[in-house]
Symmetry: C2
Subunit: 471 residues, 2 copies
């Protein structure tokens, strides 16, 4: 697959990163001599954080090239326009894109300010696909206009969550909310009710924590309690008649207001560079997205679905099954500047889970009331591993009986060197009685087959080792 | 300390839970015969989730009682009024509170609709302390009015993040933003642009993920890039003149609009009960808060600061140091319905960290460039542990030399039974060279002293054990 990115910068760069890190070839067209540097800066941020939200490796990166608009569009499956928000510039660019791109290509604009009817007024084919910064981490894409069949699925295949807006409207949906809050915030700063920092606190210490997961209406549904949404609206509805926002009026956008806000923002966050703030933002997003993935909620559900579409690792050259292949997220590192010891066990436990799937002890099996419980683990930490490192885990069966499973996981760095090992012993259990019980026949047979295949292999170095043993 | 909660319900119950779970005695006054049941339901939610955001145990719960308003207020340090939003009712209640409460008590109202000047118009003493649902998890409290010295610190001592609003204004700060978004959302639903579910998606798949951590202005500062906040405002400012919100006008609040929204909300979330939605919300909040605690960001910073104020555990009766005392969060459980194996190692690693602090290898020591690296761990899983269980860890030194530290952690359930063990071996390292190096003299001596004190103790059962060993 090939994406053409027309216009670099933070938004174009974010689109480029999404496609590239999902295995697409990406051609960027931007007359700015700084475009390559800017795109590569965004890419560096994306490489640091996008793989970190997944527990499987993303596909091998596609090829990135920089070229003229016509060359970028040739053979493209998706053309994304992210040039400055001036309609005359957009019209000119879209005319050139329409002439150069295949008829089969999706042609989309990142515009937040224009409706599809404005973009296509001179006959160019184009939809709106409006992303949110950082584009490489936030799933939302607002699709507006005459969206071609398959366009939404193409976005999903690179991890986005497309939202088809039913009717075109100025600023689509999300930016209307942002604009409403922005206007109110400008009033509050101007009138000395609150500083920029206090406004940020009022958001992130309260409703911001709710909106990361449930949005507006579901949150209020819960707030309404058993009496439901009608009850909530009866309580809250009358406030519409109260002077609770200043939005009936628009603050004058003076130099004084700009200086006031820029000065307060410097006081609030000026001790951190933009790059440091970006890293903090992305680290927090990775943490939030990974925690939402646990419950399959909101954006976490998007990650989980995309992850399930990524290929599982295959067998290694040594004929041992590869049970994990992933990148170490920054949320797994600690004060010593490397992967924390607990996450080696998290990695090993995931390898055990994957091996269980391979022998048929999968989610459906567990739902039947059968599973394995770990009784014992031994880990050797042989070499440091770091955030961003690709790690693969191979699994050797040391013993596999109807009730017992004794495994040895090797955790390997990209050079294939064993950086850590985990020896693990599990008992098969009945989840009803919580006691040891034989595995279902097909699972026991599949485990035994692995055990026989691995029986002739050398016993792994470190198997049977105890803590503190010499040598 | 004693809190009087005047008016139960979801908000009063949330206040009660915050105080109670932080060791305060709580007296609730509410004429509703259902008040005790309702408060206990909120408390059940709080007990499930508030301890889960901390890695130290909260104080022992205070005593909860239900009584008349005057009895509740007698001897109270904090009186929180959360009665219905009618000014006449508030005036009557506040008069009675003022007569019954000590002069030293902070008297505060949860009102979202009234300003302090309105509450105190008839002479009652009162400030606004406006919380956000769920009050037991969200840190924000908007303080408005003539706030007594010490009031903010009392709120901080139970884990809140007070925000003193500089001037009183209708709806304080956060609800003005919520109201602005609510109005815009009603328009979008009414005009058929989006359903309630689509609006929630537009929020939680995009800017909601940003606002959980950075709020409005810091997010935009980052978006402005190196060019800074002024550049961002120059770009975004002109939108103020564009028709990007419908907020110049207010939608008519008709029965049809209520039915439309309630119907869409049922279609969106009606497959889950309110109780299930609450649990999902709280589980997600626990996950988000714990992930933000990792970077000390936003609400995570509030949790971290509060946690640091909680007492560290002391020595056990057996004279072994207690190195962890905490409640198991729901985010640590897995598909088998119990604490996942990886989190036993997380718990053991935290016990090692705490023991390092005890011998002087603390954050300052690590900042000097010295630390311990784990080379080997062995874990025995003897009994299941579950979300909500209190767990204590004792630590026995098996060997403590200038370069070596060999520890044995016992993880104990509330009955004092050993549910798991972790034997761990660490090497002291120079963080510059990443190689083994002797500990600083005082650290080595403190470790040796523990080693000598523990030398006469029986060797723990399971020490020196290897995986799969019989018996």
């Amino acid at each position: 697959m090939k994406a053409a990115i027309i216009g670099g910068g933070v938004i174009g760069g974010g689109w480029a990163a999404r496609f590239l890190l999902n295995g697409w070839d990406v051609a960027v067209a931007d007359p700015d001599p700084e475009a390559e540097r800017k795109i590569n800066e965004v890419l560096a941020g994306a490489r640091r954080s996008l793989p970190a939200v997944y527990d499987r490796a993303l596909p091998a990166e596609g090829t990135l090239s920089f070229c003229a608009l016509e060359d970028a569009c040739a053979g493209a499956d998706w053309v994304q326009e992210s040039v400055p928000e001036r309609l005359d510039i957009k019209h000119t660019v879209l005319d050139r894109v329409n002439a150069a791109a295949p008829d089969s290509a999706v042609i989309a604009s990142s515009t937040s300010g224009f409706k599809p009817s404005e973009l296509t007024a001179q006959g160019a084919r184009c939809i709106v696909a409006h992303p949110f910064n950082p584009v490489y981490l936030l799933p939302l894409i607002e699709l507006v206009g005459d969206v071609p069949a398959g366009a939404a699925d193409m976005l999903r295949s690179v991890g986005f969550s497309p939202l088809h807006v039913r009717k075109e409207i100025d600023a689509h949906i999300a930016d209307r909310f942002l604009e409403a809050v922005w206007r109110e915030a400008l009033w509050l700063v101007k009138d000395g009710i609150a500083t920029t920092e206090e406004i940020d606190e009022a958001i992130r210490m309260g409703f911001g924590l709710r909106w990361a997961q449930m949005g507006l209406f579901e949150t209020y549904r819960v707030a309404g309690g058993e009496a439901g949404m009608k009850h909530f609206m009866a309580q809250f509805g009358p406030a519409l008649q109260w002077p609770w926002t200043k939005l009936m009026d628009v603050p004058e956008f003076t130099d004084e207001l700009v200086d006031l806000i820029a000065g307060q923002s410097d006081a609030q966050s000026g001790h951190l560079s933009i790059r440091e703030l970006e890293r903090l933002r992305d680290d927090n997003l990775v943490g939030i997205l990974r925690s939402l993935k646990r419950t399959n909620a909101a954006a976490g559900g998007v990650i989980a679905a995309h992850e399930a579409s990524l290929p599982q690792p295959s067998a290694s050259p040594e004929a041992l099954p590869i049970t994990q292949d992933r990148v170490i997220p920054q949320t797994w590192t600690d004060y010593n500047g490397h992967m924390n010891e607990a996450h080696y066990l998290e990695l090993g436990a995931a390898a055990t889970d994957r091996f269980m799937e391979m022998i048929g002890a999968d989610a459906a099996y567990i739902a039947e009331g059968l599973s394995y419980f770990t009784t014992e683990n031994h880990l050797q930490y042989l070499d440091e591993m770091h955030a961003g490192d690709r790690v693969r885990v191979s699994t050797q069966v040391l013993e596999g009986g109807p009730k017992k499973m004794h495994l040895f996981h090797r955790m390997m760095n990209p050079a294939g060197e064993v950086a850590a090992t985990m020896e693990t012993f599990l008992l098969h259990v009945d989840l009803g009685t919580r006691r040891s019980a034989p595995a279902r026949a097909d699972v026991a047979e599949a485990l035994a087959a692995f055990g026989q295949a691995h029986a002739g292999m050398p016993r792994p170095e470190g198997a049977g080792r105890y803590v503190g043993q010499r040598g």
